[in-house]
């Protein structure tokens, strides 16, 4: 999308005057302690799971659990969209699910710990009501119960 300051004046004014859907104030949880003392989980919408798990189906708003100590070689993708390049994740799961990178941060003392479980949803969906009302909050509760303070949310 062109930067506003590079557009002709008339276009700029139009864009600035468009009615925008503004979200009401959203919950904002501060980090309770330095990252080096925190547990972090990845929550991805890249449609990932353990090989052998039930694959994602179209319109599915459920999630899969990926154990925090699972080797990245065991993780596959069953996202139902064709709208993204699959070659990178075939070569390196960290492109959407940077679990090896997190382990390196822990080894360097920059992150307290990798969470016991990561979670994957499938993105690129029209109707997100199920994730919003049910499965999203469910994952939030599980993370809380697993002593996780922070989550990195990654797209496809």
């Amino acid at each position: 999308m062109p930067r506003l300051d590079r557009l002709p004046e008339a276009n700029r004014a139009n864009l600035l005057n468009l009615p925008m859907q503004v979200n009401e104030s959203s919950p904002y949880t501060p980090l309770p302690r330095p990252l080096a003392a925190c547990r972090l989980a990845i929550v991805t919408t890249a449609g990932l799971h353990r090989r052998g798990d039930r694959p994602f189906g179209p319109g599915e708003q459920g999630y899969r659990i990926i154990p925090g100590d699972l080797a990245s070689i065991e993780i596959i993708q069953s996202h139902t969209s064709l709208g993204f390049d699959r070659a990178p994740i075939m070569r390196d799961v960290n492109i959407s699910f940077p679990v090896d990178r997190l382990r390196e941060l822990v080894a360097r003392g920059e992150l307290g710990a990798v969470a016991p479980n990561h979670y994957s949803f499938m993105g690129a969906q029209r109707d997100l009501a199920g994730i919003q009302t049910t499965t999203g909050p469910e994952v939030g509760r599980r993370l809380r119960e697993e002593g996780v303070q922070a989550a990195l949310i990654t797209p496809t």
Partner: protein
Amino acid sequence: MLARALEAEGIATTSISMVREHTEKVKPPRALFVPFPFGHALGRAEDPALQHRVLRAALDLLTEPAGPVLRDFPDDAALDTEPPAPTQASAIKSVAAVGGDAMSEARSMIGQHEQWLARSGGRTALGPSGVTREALPGLVPFLKSFADGQTVDAAERPADVPQAGFIRYLADDLKTLYWEGYLGTKPQAGGDEIARWFWGETALGQLLRRVRDRLDAAGDPASKAAAFGVAR
């Protein structure tokens, strides 16, 4: 939106965003906008240094005092070699007279796939259909009969997976066999190059186009969704 659900349960979140306009409207508490194409959220495969820079930029947002925060990862990291989204089958012309037997072609990909496994340390994306790699070529006749309009089923289909879904996962695994086979001999190839080869030059690419057509023509939502996931 997922961020809001997690934050409400007391989890601090930071998100990687690939569609800036969407993020601007939805306003997750902390988001890093990255200039990479879909499929490249952390930048580049097998580039830990770049991935660490992206990760660091996303994690740094966790210490912002208040939200919403939307930060841009530097534009100069953008990958100029890859298009924003992969070229789809409908935009790729097939080479005239791609004849050939998709089943023996698939079988020959297994040898190239072995090269991939040697390079990748055993890493493969194969799996969603539940069919072993060695058995995949044997399912090509099933796909051919389906594409020809016959009423057929495959013994390998799990009882709890409807046919349209199984065909879609089968197509995924066959594409993975070919994609990874290609990467076995050209490990730095981008997805666009592989897509052009697959849809333009292989017998299986031609077959999957016909499978897609039959699924789309069936009309029911599950078949249409499967069609949309086989080829566009």
